[in-house]
Amino acid sequence: MAEAEQRELTYVDAIIEGARTILIEQDNAFIAGEDVGGAGGVFGSYRGLLEEFGPERVVDTPISEEGIVGLGVGAAATGLRPIIDIMFMDFMGECMDEIANQMAKMRYMFGGSAKLPVTVVTMSGGGRNLAAQHSQSLEAWLCHLPGLKVVAPSTPYDAKGLLIAASRDDNPVFTVMNKMSLANRGVVPEASYEVPIGKANVVREGDDLTIITYSRMVSESLSAADALAQDGVEAEVIDLRSLQPMDTDTIIESVAKTHRAVVVHEAVRFGGLGGEIASQIQELAFDELDAPVSRVGAPFSPVPFSAVLEQTYLPNADKIVAESRSLIGA
């Protein structure tokens, strides 16, 4: 048993296992999206599911994002529990009406008579030389829409557990996966389990500053914390896991202990979630702060193609270390 609990999976295999668990557990669940069936997903995240569950439940669609998301909205409102795949998060531009004006608002507009248990799986982030239209981190678009929930798994364990939690939620939930994390390995239980939506995870404890982050920047922040520790600076690292709703309590509790905070995300800094988090901290814990809340994010630019430009663009452990040192005056 102890051995089984230590089983490791990659992030992409954890997505497959999460999706498979959902199809086994929920008769009304199906997966629809571009290349999710015959191709097993362009990232391999649905491999084997068509063969196991058949074309009624693993549905290859035309390249029609608005149609696909609308199918999810209509199917969810009429009693199914769709898993809708938007291959790259950047493609939300093609279906934003169905996301923003239909999926997010239908329940409220109808006075609570509709239920929209739809899970959207999409892939975010740069680092693979896919340039400006296949590399973005657009989660702030979604978090600004009342009616949606948004989660961002950083590990294989969270990818499976948050996906299952999303599928059991009676609201629309976006699970924003990260394409640079697909080969990462981590412990994943074989059993079905949920990572609760709305609860952050303190992944490293420390007393000197709090790094608040999510998705791929969790591992960069942990590397940064290791580097800082060599100088005797102990950083607490919070993996938000859930961006909407956001676990503000855990953030404030940590800041009350460390008195310094840096928010880290891969998304463009201006208008990103970091601004919201910094604002919440100053509203709720101004007196606890020994320094202004600082932010690490991408510069105000589209994601570039060339590797040297892309690596310059992306936040990383070195940038987090530099910002943290500046914050504590070290």
């Binding site: 035309p62 609308g70 169905e98 109808f110 006075g111 509709a114 609201n171």
Partner: protein
């Protein structure tokens, strides 16, 4: 092709009268300043909603448009709760959260009026996917206008419905105008139904002022969908007697009074009543009695709405999430 029984003919007639009377009185209430916001009225297009909806049950789904009251009434919507919604009252179908443009009733299979032109067809495809997934013979009907037939959402939905052979009927209410722009200035075709062949489904054009013609064409399309043979695009040529928004019909700059007068000669309710009189199904006096009965019901609905409480401000954040 089934010939409608007298009961069905009378049912279609009553649905049309209910729509006309509700919309006319709703327009009066709006002009009196009692209904806030924007009101897109269905007067003139009644034959379409009535001729289609008489084939559906509460287990069949529809998606509607910003001009959605007629669809809900024809699907069985009750005047008291509809007026309450238009007045923004807590007793409305959407508890005052939706208003005219989002009026809905899930129990009646009505997936909402919709403020976004062209948003309905993909949702109807999802509802049809749902009924097929569950192996039922229920169908989804999506109403949209000539204007919406230029939205990408319509084309994506049409393609997917035909590809998956889903039980959807695409009902285009071609009233000749996309908001204020005449059809000839927003698309290079005359019949929206021509677009059906591009997706591998039949396209049918009917006189949308003739309830009998709509009834027959809808019967065929809906039966085809129920039988598992896939979608149909049914285009109903109709006309908006009022303005795009609000009541005024005459004296508009973007269309002529003569054009309106020509269409009004073919008022769908007058034509249908003449037909029913010919068939000895409904006398002039009986028709008049139905109009009066429905008007009394409409007035009772308005009274109910006016007597209803406004929403408690504490309900503001209710139902953002389940």
């Amino acid at each position: 092709m089934s010939t409608p029984s007298d009961d069905v003919l009378l049912d279609i007639h009553r649905r049309m009268v209910r729509i006309r009377t509700f919309e006319t009185e709703a327009g009066r209430m709006a002009e009196a300043g009692k209904i806030p916001g924007a009101l897109h009225l269905y007067v003139g297009e009644e034959a379409v909603a009535a001729g289609v909806m008489v084939h559906l049950s509460n287990e069949d789904w529809i998606t509607s448009t910003h001009r959605g009251h007629g669809h809900l009434i024809a699907k069985g919507g009750e005047f008291d709760r509809m007026f309450a919604e238009l007045f923004g009252r807590a007793t409305g179908y959407c508890r005052g959260k939706g208003g005219s443009m989002h009026i809905s009733n899930m129990d009646l299979g009505m997936l909402g009026a919709n403020g976004i032109v062209g948003a309905g067809p993909p949702i109807a495809v999802g509802a049809a996917f749902s009924t097929k997934y569950r192996n039922t013979d229920r169908v989804a009907v999506t109403f949209f206008g000539d204007g919406a037939s230029n939205e990408g959402s319509f084309h994506e939905a049409a393609n997917m419905a035909a590809l998956y052979k889903l039980p959807v009927v695409f009902v285009c209410e071609n009233n000749g105008y996309g908001e204020y722009t005449p059809q000839a200035k927003h698309q290079a075709i005359v019949d929206v139904a021509d677009r059906a062949s591009g997706y591998g489904m039949p396209g049918v054009v009917v006189d949308g002022m003739d309830a009998m013609a709509v009834y027959e064409a809808a019967d065929a399309a809906i039966e085809r969908a129920r039988a598992g043979d896939g979608p149909t695009l049914l285009e109903c040529k109709t006309y908006r007697f009022f303005d795009h928004v609000g009541v005024r019909g005459m004296g508009l700059t973007y269309r002529t009074d003569e054009e309106l007068a020509e269409w009004q000669k073919r008022d769908p309710i007058h034509m249908f009543e003449a037909r029913l009189a010919e068939l000895d199904v409904l006398s002039k006096d009986s028709a008049q009695a139905i109009h009066e009965e429905v008007l009394a019901e409409v007035r009772a609905g308005i009274e109910f709405a006016e007597a209803s409480p406004t929403p408690d401000p504490d309900t503001l954040l209710d139902d953002v999430y389940a």
